[in-house]
Amino acid sequence: MTSFGDRILGLGLLVLAVAYGWAAQQWPEPFGGAETVGPETFPTMLAVVLVAGSLYLMIKPDPDAQWPVGKSAVELLISLVVLVVYTLLLEPLGFVIATTLAVGTLSWRMGAAPRPAFLTGLLSAVVVFVLFNYGLSLSLPAGLLEVH
């Protein structure tokens, strides 16, 4: 059993803790002189705790989890891209179109047949859009479908 996961995490956290603690020492002294508790006191304490925690993780790491390789990793990446692209297109394309595409693609990638997947996407998009815009009067972007 390997335990690289925790070691890498510990290393990352150590770097983070040191950077975080160092940044806290760089702030200018607040107006009115230094008090016992300045803006840097609490972050400094946190940095110390995290340094200790990260060292512990590196010295006594737990065994590694099963990391996704090959196809699973690709699927994960695809899902992530879908989420980012969804955010990107939400305003320009409008809620209904963007959601149909996003929910459809996700369902399809999770194992549904393409047709029911995109139908689910369309249906849920329309229902949520109508519910929000007319039922709850919260405006979601209409995008391309906007009626001028």
Binding site: V37, G53, A65, S72, L140
Partner: protein, 508 residues
């Protein structure tokens, strides 16, 4: 009898048609959340927060809605335990032991009905306990100074992993990360910009709601994508109800024992609902002794853990409402709602926002009745939903999470942030870093810093003030134990829990 008067006022709040409607809606949605695959209670409540927020619900209504969801989720968790031998949420694990064998013997309908009644009894006992204990504890908490609060927050973090937690050090790391995130933004007392890197969106700090939704909802989606469990399950047949009155009467002592034990473990730091249902089940087994057929579908084996976990879920509200220190993931999310409603949780809430506190407590009582009424006739409907494949469900849930976050600020910047939190949540979960301490850190971080500052100002910079009073010292000691005990007792308890799971003849 002052309490009774407050409770009556609470009922006056909770029984208005508007609030009653939201309680009913919450109870229904909560049961759904509890029984649907891949939607834990904390996750479900988190997704609903932005919605409650943007709907502009008055604070008491928003809290009633979410509390009803919380109570409902505890009811819902049992359905898949009984029918599929897969716990809908963690506390429902023990319900599998006798619930599934009962279903296999064709008594699924009975198991569902009796567990609904047990959930009701547990919830009722827990809520009564909450009504009696909360005002007393709130009064006591008024004597806390900043140093005591600081120690109390430490205690909350230290015990969050629970006695059965695997690696307390990871809880510490997680909590520290959460508090660190909460320090981003402009420092309240001095106006210093901290970790903003000049990004305008960071000046006000990182909104914990989007962090919570990202950590829970998005990482859950990613987990499902990875494990490829998109396919639905087969349709279940529940069968006919054959439960007799006599059988039901026989389980009453079990219900009482389970409810009380559950409540106690809900209140205590570090125990929680899972341990509550475990203790109730184990004790029941010992009390009944050889006469019972535990593990083979004994009806009391279904009643005990269900009464236990519902009692515990009400018990867990005690520290959240009186001290502002939640002991579980879902109560942490409820706390997030309170804070974003600009209500300072803690003992003062009982005097300053009495209508909200007592409205919530009354709603919990009403919610339990509603849930019982909902759960018996509608069980067939909920069972149908169990066969909804996650491959359709999770994308839709994710979309609802996006909509919720978007509707708060109408900025896509927040959405990117949420996705980033989701990815971080995925990696942290993979590395077995618990997410709940991160969230608690986000929520309590600012309060902790404030109390530290106050304590040190009062003592003129003398750090020993933090553990000077006996009460603060006691809290430090319990916090220390909370970190050490899992190493000593944890492996033993965990082994026992696993052994109990394996003993059951049907473990597939």
């Amino acid at each position: 009898m002052e309490t009774l008067g407050f409770l009556m006022d609470g009922f006056a709040v909770a029984l208005t048609p508007y609030n009653l409607m939201f309680a009913l809606f919450g109870a229904f949605v909560g049961t759904l959340i509890g029984c649907l695959p891949g939607l834990g209670p904390a996750n479900g409540v988190a997704i609903l927060i932005p919605l409650a927020f943007t709907l502009g619900l008055p604070p008491e209504t928003a809290m009633i809605l979410l509390t009803a969801v919380y109570a409902g989720a505890m009811y819902g968790g049992r359905i898949s335990s009984i029918l599929l031998n897969i716990p809908g949420d963690e506390p429902a694990m023990m319900t599998c032991l006798d619930g599934y064998p009962m279903a296999q013997k064709g008594r699924a309908a009975d198991a569902l009905a009796v567990s609904a009644i047990a959930s009701f009894a547990g919830g009722l006992i827990g809520t009564i306990g909450l009504i009696m204990l909360a005002p007393v504890l709130a009064k006591f908490a008024l004597t806390f100074g900043p140093a005591e609060y600081f120690a109390l927050f430490l205690l909350a973090f230290a015990t969050l992993g629970g006695i059965t937690g695997k690696n307390p050090m990871k809880t510490v790391v997680a909590a520290t990360l959460g508090i660190m995130i909460s320090t981003v933004g402009i420092d309240i007392s001095t106006g210093t910009q901290r970790y903003t890197f000049g990004v305008l969106e960071l000046y006000e700090g990182i909104d914990f709601i989007l962090a919570i939704v990202g950590l829970f909802a998005i990482s859950e989606l990613l987990f499902f994508v990875e494990s490829r469990m998109g396919r639905g399950r087969d349709k279940m047949n529940v069968g006919k109800l054959t439960l007799t009155m006599k059988e039901l009467m026989m389980t009453i002592p079990t219900q009482l024992r389970g409810g009380v034990l559950g409540f106690i473990s809900g209140v205590l730091p570090g125990a929680g609902a899972s341990l509550g249902s475990f203790i109730s089940y184990t004790l029941e087994k010992q009390v009944v002794g050889k006469k019972g057929k535990f593990g083979e579908g004994d009806i009391r084996g279904v009643v005990a853990p269900e009464a236990g976990n519902n009692g515990a879920s009400s018990g867990a509200l005690v520290p959240m409402l009186t001290l502002g220190v939640p002991g579980s993931g879902t109560t942490a999310v409820l706390l997030a709602m309170l804070i974003s409603l600009n209500i300072t949780p803690g003992p003062l809430m009982f005097t300053q926002n009495a209508d909200i506190v007592w409205g919530v407590i009354a709603a919990l009582l009403i919610g339990n009745v509603l849930l019982l009424v909902l759960n018996i006739p509608l069980v067939g409907f909920f069972v149908k939903l169990l066969s909804v494949p996650p491959m359709y469900l999770l994308p839709i849930v994710t979309m609802v999470a996006f909509v919720g976050i978007y509707s708060i600020s109408h900025s896509t910047f927040d959405l990117y942030f949420m996705v980033a939190f989701g990815v971080a949540g995925y990696f942290l979960r993979k590395l077995e870093i618990p997410l709940v301490p991160i969230i608690l850190g986000l929520l309590l971080g600012p309060e902790m810093e404030k109390n530290l500052g106050h304590a040190l100002v009062l003592s003129d910079g003398d750090w020993s003030v933090l553990w000077a009073s006996p009460l603060a010292m006691g809290l430090w000691i319990v916090a220390g134990l909370g970190l050490i005990l899992p190493y000593l007792v944890g492996p033993l308890l965990r082994r026992r829990m696993n052994a109990a799971m394996k003993e059951s003849p049907v473990s597939d």
